[in-house]
C-alpha cells in the first residue's frame, strides 16, 4: 500500500501476480426492512484469479448488484454484509474500517458504475475529478497528475483535451469511457463493473467491451463484470456465474456454460435471445418472474418457473454440485460432488 504512482504503473504486469486475487467466501448480504430482513445474497463463494475476467449474469432482483457492492464494501443502509468474508490480496475487506478501505479503493480496486451520468460530478470538469482521486492517494505534483490523467484518457481513446470538459459535454459512450479511464488511474489489480454498457446503444457498447478487454489484456487486471445481458459476455469473459434469487445457479468456464448449460435457468436465459443470424425460430423465454426474496419458495428457488421440475425440487434445499469444471445448483446434476450445502 506504500506504492507510489510510478510503482503502480509498472506493477500491473500479469507476471507479477499468482493465485487467487479475490476470495469470496459464504458472502451473505441482507436488507433490513420493516417487513423483515431480506437476504439478497445467500452464501456466495467464488475466487477470482489475477488477470481473470469473470462475468455475473442474472435477472434484475437476483442479487448481482448487491453481491458486487458487498464485495466492494459499498453497501449502504438498509443493506449490509451479514456474513462471510471477502479476502482481497490477503486482507479481509469485510473487517476493514472506512479509512483502511480508502487506501485500497482506486489504487488496488476500482468500481465502474452503471450510469456514468450519475457517477460523474456534473459541476466539475473531468480533469478535476481525476485529480481528486489521484490526490486522495497522496500524489500532489500537478505535472504528475496532469500527465497521468492525459495518459489514461488516451488509453480509452479520448483526446486529453476533454480533461477540461464537463460531463454534459461528452456523449454517453465518452462518459462511460472516461469512468473506465478514471478506474485505470492507479492500474488497479481488480476492476469491478456494474452494467457499464447498459445505457449505451449497440455500437458504443461493442466498442466499450472491446476496449475493456484490450486494456485488461494489456495491463493484466482482473475484472468482475455484472450484466443482465448474457449475449454480451460470451466473447469477453473467462468464467461466467449465473445467479438466481441470491444464489449461484451455475458457475463455470464461459464456453462450457454457453455450449452445454446444465441449469434449466441458464438454458432458459440462453434461449431467450432472438438472433439476427440463421432461421427465425419461435422462442418462449422463461415464464413467470423471479421470486420475492422476502418470501422464497421452499426447495429449489427456480422450481416454480422450471420446465423440468420434479416433485423433490419442491421440498429439498438444493446444494451446489460440481460437474466437470462447472458448479451447478440443480437436482438433475445430483450425481456430481457436493460443493456446498
Amino acid at each position: 500500500m506504500s506504492r507510489t504512482l510510478d510503482d503502480s504503473l509498472t506493477a500491473g504486469t500479469p507476471a507479477g501476480r499468482a493465485g487467487a486475487l479475490l476470495q469470496v467466501e459464504n458472502l451473505s448480504a441482507e436488507y433490513v426492512l420493516e417487513r423483515g430482513n431480506i437476504l439478497a445474497v445467500d452464501q456466495v463463494s467464488f475466487d477470482v484469479a489475477a488477470g481473470e475476467f469473470v462475468g455475473i449474469v442474472g435477472e434484475s432482483g437476483c442479487g448481482k448488484s448487491t453481491l458486487l457492492f458487498g464485495i466492494a464494501r459499498l453497501l449502504a443502509p438498509p443493506a449490509h454484509v451479514s456474513g462471510g468474508s471477502v479476502r482481497f490480496q490477503g486482507a479481509n475487506l469485510v473487517g476493514l474500517t472506512d479509512k483502511q478501505l480508502s487506501l485500497v479503493r482506486w489504487r488496488n480496486m476500482s468500481v465502474v458504475m452503471q450510469s456514468a451520468m450519475n457517477a460523474l460530478n456534473p459541476v466539475t470538469s473531468i480533469g478535476a475529478q481525476f485529480s481528486d482521486a489521484i490526490r486522495a492517494h497522496g500524489v500532489s505534483s500537478k505535472e504528475e497528475i496532469a500527465q497521468r490523467s492525459a495518459e489514461v484518457l488516451r488509453m480509452v481513446g479520448i483526446d486529453p483535451l476533454h480533461l477540461k470538459s464537463y460531463p454534459h459535454q461528452l456523449s454517453g459512450g465518452m462518459r462511460q469511457r472516461s469512468m473506465i479511464a478514471m478506474a485505470m488511474l492507479f492500474t488497479p489489480d481488480l476492476v469491478i463493473m456494474d452494467e457499464p454498457t447498459s445505457a449505451l446503444d449497440v455500437v458504443a457498447q461493442r466498442s466499450l467491451m472491446v476496449q475493456v478487454k484490450e486494456l485488461q489484456q494489456q495491463l493484466g487486471f482482473a475484472v468482475i463484470f455484472v450484466t443482465h445481458d448474457i449475449s454480451l459476455v460470451r466473447h469477453f469473459t473467462d468464467r461466467l456465474m449465473v445467479m438466481y434469487a441470491g444464489q449461484i445457479a451455475e458457475f463455470g468456464p464461459t464456453g462450457q456454460v454457453f455450449e452445454s448449460p446444465l441449469h434449466p435457468y441458464s438454458v432458459g436465459l440462453l434461449e431467450a435471445f432472438p438472433s439476427i443470424h440463421g432461421p427465425k425460430v419461435p422462442l418462449t423465454g422463461i415464464p413467470g418472474s423471479p421470486p420475492d426474496l422476502g418470501n422464497l419458495p421452499e426447495g429449489c428457488r427456480f422450481a416454480p418457473r422450471c420446465p423440468q421440475v420434479m416433485d423433490r425440487c419442491l421440498t429439498t434445499e438444493i446444494p451446489l454440485y460440481r460437474v466437470g469444471g462447472v458448479q451447478v445448483r440443480c437436482l438433475l446434476q445430483e450425481d456430481g460432488e457436493v460443493v456446498s450445502d
Binding site: 449505451l200 449497440v202 449475449s231 440462453l270 432472438p274 418472474s289
Partner: protein
C-alpha cells in the same frame, strides 16, 4: 360519425396505407439568447409508410430521432414541415376535440418505462377505466369494465378482474408493460406506437412481450411501430425495418432483405455490433466508438460521412436521397446508388 360530417374538408388519398409520412421534419431551436440561432435537426425529411396488420421496426442509435418520429405521429409534437397522412387524411386537418380524441384512440402510445408510466397511487384499473371513459363514452360503465377485462385477458394478465384491482407495485416490470399494452388495446386501436417497450425488461420477460406484439398483429389486426435499438428483437417480430441515422432514414425495406444484404454502411455497422453468442466476434470495426452524429445546423452532405470508411467526394457536398435499390428496399447512400458493392463493416 364525426369524421363523415367533416370528411369533405380532408384531402383523401384512395388506397392509402394506414399511415404515411412525407418529408416529415422537426427542428428544435436550442441555446438561449436572442442571437443564438442554432437549430437541432431531430428529424429531417422522413418519409415512411406503415400498412395495416404490419409491424414496422424503427431502429437507430440514441439521438437518431426515432423517438421524435413517434412523438410526431402521436401528435405530442407538431412537425416543422412535412405531413402525416392517417388513413389518407392529413393529420394537420384533424382539429376538433372529438376528432383528436378519435385519432389518439386509433393511434395510442406505449412508453419505455413501465415504472414511470403508471400512476403508483391508484389501482391499475384507474388508468384503463379513465381512458375508456374518455375515449369510449358510448359504453355503459359495465361495458367499459368488460372491455378493460377483455384487454387484460388478451395481453395475458389473468385473472383479469383480480389483476385490475392490484396496485402497480404488486406487478412485475413485464406485467406493468402488459398493462400499457392493455390500455392501448382497450381503445381498439389501429396502430400502436411502442417506444422501446421492452428495453427496460429482463431478457426472460422480453420474449413474452415480443410474442404478445406479434399476436396482437395476427389476431387483433393491429399495426405496430416498434421503436428499438435492438435489431435482434426487431427481426423477431417486425415485417419491415427502417433504420434511422441522424434524423434521416438511412435504409428501409423488408426485414429479412435488409438483414441479408444491408446496403447502407451504417446499417452494416449496426448489424456487426449486435452481440450474438452464437456468432464469432467480429473485431475490426471497433475503431468506431459510436459517437453521436452532428445534427446541430448540419451542412449538406451525408450525415454518416464522418464515420464512413467508404465516403467519397460527393458525400461531403450532397445529401443522399433515399432511392429504391431492390424491390421495396431503399437506401440513402451515394456509394450504394452508384451500383458499387458496399462492404463497410
Amino acid at each position: 360519425m364525426t369524421d363523415q360530417q367533416t370528411a369533405p374538408q380532408y384531402e383523401v388519398l384512395t388506397d392509402a396505407p394506414l399511415l404515411q409520412t412525407s418529408k416529415l421534419t422537426r427542428h428544435f431551436r436550442i441555446g438561449g439568447g436572442l442571437f443564438s440561432r442554432k437549430t437541432l435537426h431531430a428529424v429531417d425529411d422522413v418519409s415512411l409508410t406503415i400498412g395495416s396488420r404490419e409491424i414496422v421496426a424503427l431502429a437507430g442509435e440514441s439521438g437518431s430521432g426515432k423517438s421524435t418520429v413517434a412523438r410526431l405521429l402521436a401528435r405530442i409534437y407538431a412537425p416543422t414541415s412535412g405531413e402525416i397522412h392517417f388513413e389518407g387524411k392529413r393529420l394537420s386537418d384533424i382539429k376538433g376535440r372529438a376528432d383528436v380524441l378519435r385519432y389518439r384512440s386509433d393511434v395510442p402510445m406505449v412508453f419505455q418505462d413501465p415504472f414511470a408510466s403508471i400512476n403508483p397511487v391508484f389501482r391499475v384499473s384507474h388508468g384503463i377505466m379513465r381512458s375508456l371513459k374518455l375515449h369510449r363514452p358510448d359504453l355503459s360503465k359495465q361495458e367499459q369494465l368488460a372491455e378493460a377485462q377483455r384487454a387484460f385477458e388478451v395481453v395475458g394478465l389473468t385473472p383479469a378482474d383480480e389483476v385490475l384491482h392490484r396496485y402497480p407495485h404488486e406487478l412485475s416490470g413485464g406485467q406493468r408493460q402488459r398493462v400499457g399494452f392493455a390500455q392501448a388495446l382497450s381503445m381498439r386501436p389501429k396502430l400502436i406506437l411502442a417506444d422501446e417497450p421492452v428495453s427496460m425488461l429482463d431478457v426472460s420477460i422480453r420474449i413474452g412481450l415480443l410474442n404478445l406484439m406479434a399476436r396482437l398483429r395476427d389476431e387483433q389486426g393491429v399495426s405496430i411501430l416498434y421503436i428499438t435499438h435492438d435489431i435482434a428483437s426487431a427481426r423477431y417480430v417486425a415485417d419491415r425495418l427502417v433504420v434511422m441515422y441522424a434524423g434521416q432514414v438511412a435504409e428501409s425495406g423488408p426485414m429479412e432483405d435488409v438483414l441479408a444484404s444491408p446496403r447502407h454502411p451504417y446499417t452494416q455497422l449496426l448489424l456487426s455490433a449486435v452481440p450474438d453468442p452464437r456468432a464469432e466476434l467480429k473485431v475490426g470495426a471497433h475503431t468506431d466508438h459510436g459517437e453521436p452524429p452532428r445534427v446541430i445546423d448540419p451542412t449538406p452532405g451525408c450525415r454518416f460521412r464522418w464515420r464512413c470508411p467508404l465516403a467519397i467526394d460527393i458525400c461531403h457536398s450532397v445529401t443522399p436521397e433515399l432511392s429504391e435499390l431492390a424491390p421495396g428496399h431503399h437506401a440513402a447512400c451515394h456509394v450504394a446508388q452508384s451500383g458499387a458493392e458496399v462492404k463497410a463493416f
